[in-house]
């Protein structure tokens, strides 16, 4: 194509309505032709502005809700990955105080069969108006009777339909006599047993709990004797805690 033939196509090119062959030829030509390149830049800027010629219109409100749910869940997953790849945070220091206030430790101290692991790193996200309330915690654990919980982490997200998504990951496989148990811990009163589970081959556990966990102080996963009689009357170890309220 000559310079003039290319020139005739530049409007169509800027509007992205030329054929693939034409586009390839023009792409090549403007590399060496500053005149055409300058016109392309000018016309492309008009192309970008054309979107503004349409009339603003309210999208359905459900779209916002759906998008916010999707990005909150995505953020949930991202936080888990961050927690997994985070360097060892060492022994708990300033964070040590809050979990002592969680009533379950009283059970842990009294009825402990297993040594409690240590809780660290609580990421607390307060959401006033959006639809998912997300809380996150991770255990930088020592050892529970030889079980290394290093890197285990969890998130709890309360959804707008008042169900609760719970995810724990990086859970080590347990010996056959032991199993994990999920708890919701109120600010006062006894922990509520949600259920027992085993970490699968991917070392993670995900469930949707059909109740709203708002109002509980924390969610926790402990290690219990299994199969035994579920639910356990009270938690016997503290493994991983996700703090739910400030």
């Amino acid at each position: 194509m000559t310079h003039d033939e290319v020139g005739e196509l530049l409007g169509a090119y800027a509007l992205e309505v030329v054929s693939a062959e034409e586009r390839a030829v023009i792409d090549e030509h403007i590399k060496d032709c500053p005149v055409c390149a300058a016109e392309v830049a000018d016309l492309m800027s008009v192309h970008d502005q054309l979107a503004l010629a349409s009339v603003e219109r309210d999208p359905p409100p459900a779209l916002r809700t759906r998008l916010m749910n999707l990005v909150e869940l995505d953020r949930n997953q991202w936080l888990l990955e961050q927690a997994r790849s985070a360097p060892d945070q060492g022994r708990p220091t300033s964070n040590a105080a809050w979990w002592k206030r969680i009533p379950m430790l009283a059970y842990g101290a009294g009825a402990a069969v297993l040594v409690a692991a240590v809780v660290l790193a609580v990421v607390f996200a307060n959401r006033n108006s959006v639809t998912v309330h997300l809380f996150h915690g991770s255990a930088v654990a020592q050892v529970v009777k030889g079980i290394d919980l290093q890197g285990a982490a969890g998130t709890v997200g309360v959804r707008s339909d008042h169900s609760t998504d719970v995810t724990f990951s990086n859970l080590p496989a347990l010996p056959s006599k032991l199993a994990y148990e999920l708890w919701l811990i109120p600010a006062k009163g006894n922990p509520v047993a949600v259920g027992g589970f085993n970490a699968g081959a991917n070392r993670s556990f995900t469930m949707r709990y059909n109740k709203d966990a708002t109002g509980f102080a924390a969610a926790a996963v402990t290690i219990e004797r299994a199969p035994g009689n579920w639910p356990s009357p009270s938690p016997n170890s503290m493994a991983i805690v996700v703090k739910l309220a400030s």
Partner: protein, 194 residues
């Protein structure tokens, strides 16, 4: 944009840390224009909704790749909407011209004008509408079929029953005129601001 509110660029930067509040702010700021564009191109609310959802999700997922020096966040977002809508239109293959593609200069769809938002967008939008609306009708029509309808130059020639060279000429001259009048508006704006 109201003074004191974070810029789009600032909000997009916060998406890299998966900041959902920044995402909500971007959505509240730009979803009406994004939906308006998708609706005009596709002429159907549920398809427009899908496209806008896809566009905002790719904004969320690809925020790291955004280069603020190359384009405004709004332009970037709208170009995602535009491309997704074009993909849909072209997937459908042989198709009629949607009402939206040729609706010309429509009035506002409703009376609920968001004043704060309007101040930021409307000046430039009004200039673009005027630049497009004052073109000779055949140039305006060719540009709208290309941009909002996603038709190729040969399809436009077929629809309008004119030679393809005529279509090429209308697209180019129309855009050049718009460029001139928008450049002029831009200069006037700069002079007024100075």
């Amino acid at each position: 944009m109201v003074a004191g509110e974070p810029s789009d660029e600032n909000l997009v930067a916060r998406l890299r840390n998966k900041d959902t509040e920044a995402f909500a702010a971007l959505y509240d700021r730009h979803s009406r224009l994004a939906f308006g564009l998708a609706y005009r191109m596709l002429g159907e609310p549920s398809a427009a909704e899908d496209v806008v959802q896809e566009a905002f999700l790719s904004l969320w997922r690809q925020a790291e790749t955004f280069k603020p020096d190359r384009s405004a966040a709004r332009t970037w977002l709208l170009s995602i909407v535009h491309h997704r809508a074009i993909d849909r239109l072209r997937r459908v293959g042989s198709r009629e011209v949607s009402d939206g593609a040729l609706e010309g200069m429509p009035e506002r769809a409703d009376d609920s004008i968001d004043v704060e938002h309007e101040v930021g967008v409307s000046l430039e939008a009004a200039q673009v509408r005027q630049a497009l609306g004052t073109l000779p009708l055949e140039q305006q029509q060719a540009i709208e079929l290309a941009y909002f309808g996603g038709f190729s130059h040969s399809e436009i020639a077929q629809k309008l029953d004119v030679p393809i060279g005529t279509v090429k000429g209308r697209l180019r001259i129309g855009l050049q005129k718009m460029r001139l009048s928008l450049g002029q508006a831009h200069l006037e704006g700069a002079a007024r601001d100075a």
